[in-house]
Symmetry: C2
Subunit: 285 residues, 2 copies
């Protein structure tokens, strides 16, 4: 199924990501509505014309009108929302999300969902260190990756629609992997990196370091500024994978430490050459 | 002593940093000359008019003319150069450098230097992941920190001149700390971050990760692309401090791991709140 501007899109949770979805989709000619807890977020989005209608409570009519519903909520809030409100979905509606962990969410939602509604999960790999619809910006999708994580229960039509949503939003690359593979990969590229940034930021209490800092330290700690409610939840949901990735990283750092201790210049150089070659793959095209 | 355009400046080692110095200083009306091993670097710099004269060998006349000499060489090459060629310096010349470690360099150079020449060390905290004078760019100094590391042997006049050089180059902030304090601080903000980036880049052999990567991973590994000869030398010169910083970081990462293992949500959140508050100090103004 191709996404078309005939599809009415409802966004539940109008923060930075939800708001950026609304902005991008409204620009492309879609009718976008929103439900979010904060009345001021709805007011802002209406005033900026990035949604056509919105509500700060669970508005049955808005839900019943939507062909595609995008959930941009904390994982436990998302699950609770579905439990309470799935009765309002339009028959045949497709729902998707932006959640940063997948396996348990996909399983939980798909198991409890009405048989006439389909959940196809996705993870837009985009974000910023600021919050709220007021900071939303559809340019965050440029050059970024969008990952669709279908399960056995998903139809080809819904997968196609969800991939199409990623392209429509302006992502540079749309990929498909299983929820399990996603969580393994995300534990490495996203969650481990956040653990590192946090630890780097807190392991030293030295004052006025900022006067002596270069871009290396700034880059490695950019993501040390984070929403603690969201990230502690994401870490714990994906705990097993994250602990495994922490182990791999700790071992590697320790082998670098041993080379240092032993003045193993050739070992250090060889590790640096490997990291240099591997890093070249990750430049944005 | 204030830096003035009457001071003739010689740059020894015309790579990315040396070339960026030459660009900035020529723009400001200084007479800049250069000595570097590669004839094509000299040709390029002359063609681009970022130096007025240059030589691919140790040109006694260029050295004897210079009031201020900036060394942008590998540490061991810098020391060897001084040993062999210090006899050519003009009496009263001031020499400075860009070396990323300080205590052993400052001691070694100051101990061997002619009494009528003064070495005042500095560390410009700027760089890029590209090399050579062809990539030089004086905009890398904008918003960056410049650190002067005087020892007991330095005169007030030379320290002032060196600070003035940092301001003239366009650095946002010029600070003074002792060589020892510098090495402690740099082991944390620069060398530890490079160890982390390298280990993150090499701890996983998974292929096609780049398709699933967000900006977090790209930011944390930007500096994993590095010059292995330079960095292995810098790491080993500052080994004691770097090992100490590695220990502090590993302990902190391990305490985060324990919180995860024990589902200690409050501990995780509190650590994240601390990292968020501390990171706010490091934004470029």
């Amino acid at each position: 199924m191709k996404l078309s501007t005939n599809h009415k899109i409802l966004i539940v949770g109008l923060g930075l990501l939800g708001g950026s979805y609304a902005k991008a989709l409204t620009k492309k000619g879609f009718t976008v509505t929103a439900i979010t807890r904060s009345p001021s977020s709805i007011d802002y989005a209406l005033r900026e014309k990035i949604i056509s209608k919105g509500s700060a409570f669970v508005d049955e009519e808005l839900i019943a009108e939507a062909d595609l519903v995008v959930f941009a909520l904390y994982p436990h809030v998302f699950i609770e929302w579905i439990r309470k409100n799935q009765k309002f979905f339009k028959p045949g509606a497709i729902i998707t999300d932006v959640t940063g962990v997948k396996e348990s969410i996909v399983g939980t939602i798909q198991d409890m969902l009405r048989p006439d509604v389909e959940f196809i999960a996705a993870h837009p790999m985009a974000g910023r260190e600021v919050y709220g619809v007021q900071n939303s910006d559809d340019r965050i999708f440029e050059g970024a990756n969008y990952i669709v994580t279908p399960s056995q229960k998903n139809t080809h039509a819904a997968i196609e629609l969800c991939c199409d949503l990623g392209k429509t939003l302006g992502f540079a690359k749309v990929s498909e992997i299983s929820p399990k593979e996603h969580d393994k990969m995300i534990a490495f590229v996203s969650q481990l990196t956040h653990c590192i940034a946090i630890s780097l930021m807190t392991c030293q209490k030295t004052e006025r370091l900022e006067d002596y800092t270069g871009d290396s330290f700034r880059d490695l700690t950019r993501i040390a500024r984070l929403n603690e409610d969201m990230w502690s939840e994401l870490f714990l949901i994906n705990k097993t994978q994250l602990l495994h990735q922490l182990t791999l990283f700790e071992r590697e750092l320790n082998s670098l430490r041993c080379m240092l201790e032993e003045d193993d210049v050739e070992g250090l150089k060889s590790m640096m050459r490997y990291s240099t070659a591997r890093r070249a793959l990750f430049d944005k095209k």
